[in-house]
């Protein structure tokens, strides 16, 4: 499909082509899409929030169709709270939460959870850690007990630490062969520098071996407290029973004085192109972006619409240009990551090695165009139609509802804004999009990461405007060094 100015012209060409191209039923009518049925009312489903005396906010979303209950606990501390020299401690701590408590061994936890058909998930993000316990409704009280135990009383047994450390290191070994992982962690370092948001969540081959049991305990002692947590109880449970169970297992959890949040300056956006040479690759992973907005920014919603026009659902200029027009990729997109203290936007695609320079130029051009030109009314309207129109799809499951409530609580947003999301989307104007694009996009200062077979595209980069490029191999990569490169005295083996 070519980009043709004027929709009418394209229609004529297409219909003429179609008639000659296929043997179609003679009687098949030419017609426009049918009108919709009368619209249904969309109601944000009910939920309830109460806060325990110790400061733990508890959300209950009842849903009685399927006999399951999910308990979701979020702590407001994640990998960004790793001490600088202890990179990966939050992630390792998280992996150990369900590997034994002061009253249950790892094996006992696994046996009991599996025997009732339950699931326990633990994990660590940038700004948060979480524990989810999901059970069929009969086991709700057990699930509450288990959740409280793994959150409050993890043992961090030395043998379990070594097991999980081994898993993290083996996992990193696999990840260092994964272009998507490499592109993501290097992009983080370029955009955020040494700000905690730029550090790899799981640590590095250099940092993980040095983490100690005391480090894990210290992280847990510092950040795990009711006044630093959120809890949701979701599913086939009565609200009063849910609150009573939560009070029973978390009511005596003591408040703590919390440390100040991680504070560090975001580096200013700087143009930098890093190529990670991975010989034998058939594609190049391309990541392009820069610092964006924190979640609480008043411009968050508008900028999100702008980035969706660039590369998201309901818009996606990148997909139109790179996939539909030029067949350069299976997927091209752009998205915002917005956290408590900052965020970024990232455009990404993966393309065959010899098309790397072309695809990179097209992405950078689209970022520049979004800043330079006003978006058309129609393009904005399409994006709004998707974002506002899909609102009922986001309310289908109780977990999806709970996720929206938890996100609001986590970032201190107004819960009353949840039901008005479609209205707030519809209020965005073309001028708003242009204002935020001009305010926040700096196309001359993009962070760019290319992971692939360097010899297949390096010579093409100057021709598309990128003549200053840093190239390093995977084995030279050191995420903790300012230039991302191992020092020359380093033999490439992990430090003890």
């Amino acid at each position: 499909m070519r980009r043709v100015a004027g929709r009418g012209l394209l229609v004529c060409l297409t219909l003429a082509g179609a008639v000659s191209a296929t043997a179609q039923p003679v009687n098949w009518p030419r017609e426009n899409p049918p009108s919709p049925l009368p619209a249904r009312e969309v109601i944000f489903p009910p939920y309830e929030v109460r806060t325990l005396a110790n400061g733990l906010p508890v959300v209950v979303v009842m849903h009685h169709e399927q006999p399951a209950v999910n308990l979701r606990l979020i702590l407001r501390a994640g990998a960004a709270s790793d001490p600088r020299s202890k990179n990966g401690v939050a992630a390792l701590m998280g992996q150990l939460l369900d590997q034994g408590t002061t009253s249950r061994t790892a094996t006992e936890i696994a046996e009991t959870v599996d025997s009732i058909g339950g699931i326990i998930n633990v994990g660590v993000g940038t700004d948060l850690s979480f524990v989810n316990v999901l059970v069929l409704k009969d086991s709700f009280e057990f699930a509450a007990d288990l959740l409280a135990d793994v959150v409050r009383n993890p043992l961090f047994a030395p043998a379990e630490i070594e097991r999980q450390r081994q898993q993290v290191l083996s996992g990193l070994q696999v990840s260092y062969d994964d272009p998507a992982y490499l592109a993501g962690v290097v992009f983080g370092r370029l955009v955020y520098g040494f700000h905690p948001y730029g550090m790899p969540h799981n640590g590095t081959p250099e940092s993980v071996p040095g983490l100690t049991r005391d480090d894990l305990r210290a992280f847990h002692d510092t950040h795990f407290a009711p006044n630093n947590a959120l809890l949701a109880v979701v599913g086939d449970v009565d609200a009063e029973a849910a609150f009573a169970a939560v009070e029973r297992v978390f009511g005596d959890w003591e408040r703590k004085t919390l440390p100040p949040p991680p504070s560090a300056e975001m580096p200013p956006p700087t143009r930098r192109v890093i190529v990670i040479d991975k010989p034998g690759s058939v594609q190049t992973a391309i990541r392009v972006g820069q610092v964006g907005l924190q979640r609480t920014s008043p411009d968050y919603l508008t900028y999100d619409v702008a980035i969706k026009i660039l590369g998201g659902e309901g818009g996606n200029r990148l997909g139109s240009v790179l996939r539909i027009e030029r067949s350069l990729t299976y997927a091209a997109s752009a998205e915002m990551a917005s956290r408590r203290f900052g965020g970024d936007f990232m455009a990404k695609t993966d393309t065959r090695s010899d098309a790397t320079a072309e695809a990179l130029r097209l992405i950078v051009d689209e970022v520049a165009r979004l800043r330079r030109e006003r978006v058309s009314r129609r393009e904005l309207r399409n994006a709004q139609a998707y974002l506002a129109g899909s609102f009922p799809l986001t309310l289908e499951t109780p977990n999806a509802i709970a996720a929206q409530v938890l996100e609001s609580l986590l970032y201190g947003l107004d819960l009353d804004d949840l039901p008005t999301y479609p209205d707030r989307i519809d209020a965005v104007t073309v001028n708003d999009i242009q204002r935020v694009s001009r305010a926040y996009l700096q196309p001359q200062r993009l962070s760019i990461v290319l992971v692939g077979e360097a010899s297949a595209f390096l010579d093409d980069l100057p021709g598309v405007g990128f003549d200053t490029v840093e190239v390093l191999s995977v084995d030279e990569l050191d995420l903790m060094s300012a230039d991302l490169r191992r020092s020359s005295t380093d033999d490439g083996n992990p430090r003890p």
């Binding site: 039923p25 025997s115 699931i119 086991s139 009280e141 993966d350 009922p392």
Partner: protein
């Protein structure tokens, strides 16, 4: 889009106070003798004059509707030299029809706040949309338009072929262990088209012609080969009228849909293969695979139970032995890929640095053998059933999931009642059933032992020497 996932049938649960090996006083107070049984799906089944199967299931909990249109054609219907074609064709279904411009199908859906997608498996190709409920006429109209009048031309076909090649590079070739399934199936099968995976080979994608597209469309994209499922906020009578309005006018097939798939001869001696993969293979992988039966065969249900025992949760046998206790593996699992024609039950170990492939092989084979030599415990059987019940409940939370259960029953089982009836079948599986199927299928003659190694050692390692202990 291509998604190859085994469809796992649901199961039945019975909570019993079976403590035995299960540890801790917690259990005593939490496991009770009640059956937590999810509600049955309520549906209607119709067949239009042109042969289209129609399934309607009302769900008024959210004002949305999900449409799923399943064509009973997948990569196992591909001819030699045309691997990957069913999936490539799936992409062509987004390239326009008489009333729909190329690439505008998904735009028309997103403009009403809907989501659309498609995926291709070995057995079927599924097109799906979820939209706010009032847009049911739009998605019916869109699907009927492309079923009747797909636009097929050389230029769009060549362009989309490039997109699919990028998909193959991205999803399989440049991802660690991405080619594991492709290598395994190529080694395990000789003549059945399950020998190749749905993405196909680059050579065959290159060889496909626009004439192939036309023939495939005329042969398989006909109403009698399709099942339309609607789940969501509608009144069935009104929805059926709309279905008829848009689909009755799609002409019936001119010839019967071919079903001649080559049969795989039985394997009579163990196959052992070692392969070196030069790219994107960071650690050795050991695969132990056995040929099994088809989805719906009575043996299929105990095989699902065996998969639960081996791999569901941190107390499952393979995880416990290979990953936790002996630390032979970074990751290890076993599962039955139980689909329309007989496929494989396989276990995989990604070998922990410092440990050997031979140790993983022995441990995996040991776990298969143990299912034959020892009856599983009552507790393990009950645990597996409880895990099935959980999957059953969690697997029916959305309109899309409900539609998938209904379409799977109707298309693959050719019996929509199995969407609910399998719960009772699982309920009645015994320990002896599990041993019987293990004895039937997990034999050495029926086994493939495949080791896939990275290039010569000396590569990157983040572990201290002698690690893995």
């Amino acid at each position: 889009m291509l998604r190859v996932t085994p469809a796992v049938p649901p199961c039945r649960l019975r909570w019993v106070a079976c403590l035995g090996a299960v540890v801790g006083m917690v259990i005593t107070s939490t496991v009770v003798e009640t059956a937590v049984r999810p509600p049955k799906l309520d549906y209607q089944l119709h067949t239009l004059d042109n042969g289209l199967t129609v399934i309607l299931s009302e769900d008024h909990s959210t004002p949305i509707v999900h449409l799923q249109l399943v064509y009973r054609v997948g990569s196992k219907n591909e001819l030699p030299g045309r691997t990957g074609f069913a999936h490539l064709f799936e992409h062509m279904m987004f390239k326009g029809s008489r009333n729909v411009l190329p690439d505008s199908h998904l735009t028309l859906i997103s403009q009403v706040g809907g989501d659309g997608n498609a995926y291709t498996t070995e057995d079927a190709t599924t097109f799906l949309e979820t939209v706010p409920a009032q847009y049911l006429p739009l998605v019916l109209w869109l699907e009927a338009d492309r079923m009747a009048t797909l636009r097929i031309d050389e230029a769009t076909f060549d362009a989309e072929r490039q997109v699919v090649k990028e998909e193959r590079r991205w999803r399989y070739e440049d991802t660690p262990f991405g080619l594991l399934s492709e290598i395994m199936y190529d080694q395990a099968f000789s003549v059945h088209p399950y020998k190749h995976t749905a993405i196909g080979s680059m050579e065959d994608l290159e060889a496909a012609s626009v004439e192939d597209v036309r023939r495939f469309f005329d042969t398989y994209y006909v109403p009698e080969n399709a099942t339309l499922v609607l789940v969501g906020d509608f009144e069935s009578a009104e929805a059926l009228d709309l279905v008829k309005q848009y689909f009755d006018r799609v002409p019936a097939a001119k010839q019967p849909v071919p079903r001649d798939i080559p049969r795989e001869p039985s394997q009579n001696e163990e196959r052992r293969v070692t392969i070196t993969e030069n790219e994107n293979w960071p650690l050795p992988a050991v695969i132990v695979a056995h040929h099994i039966t088809y989805d719906g065969h009575p043996d299929a249900y105990p095989l699902h139970i065996a998969a639960k025992l081996l791999s569901d949760g941190q107390s499952s046998r393979i995880f416990r032995r290979l990953v936790y206790d002996d630390q032979l593996a970074v990751s290890a699992f076993g599962q039955g890929h139980i689909i329309e024609d007989p496929n494989l039950f396989y276990a995989v170990s990604i070998v922990q640095p410092g440990r050997t492939s031979e140790e993983s092989e022995a441990a995996l084979i040991g776990e298969f053998d143990r299912l034959k030599t020892e009856l599983i415990s009552e507790q393990e059987l009950q645990r597996a059933k409880n895990q099935f019940a959980r999957d059953y409940v969690l697997g029916r939370a959305t309109v899309e999931q409900k539609a998938s259960h209904l379409s799977h029953a109707a298309v693959i089982h050719d019996d929509i009642t199995t969407a609910d009836a399998e719960f009772d079948i699982f309920m009645n599986i015994t320990r002896e059933d599990v041993r019987r199927v293990a004895e039937t299928y997990f034999t050495s003659e029926n086994r493939l032992v495949l080791t896939i190694r990275p290039p010569a050692p000396g590569g990157r390692s983040f572990l201290p020497p002698g690690g893995g202990q």
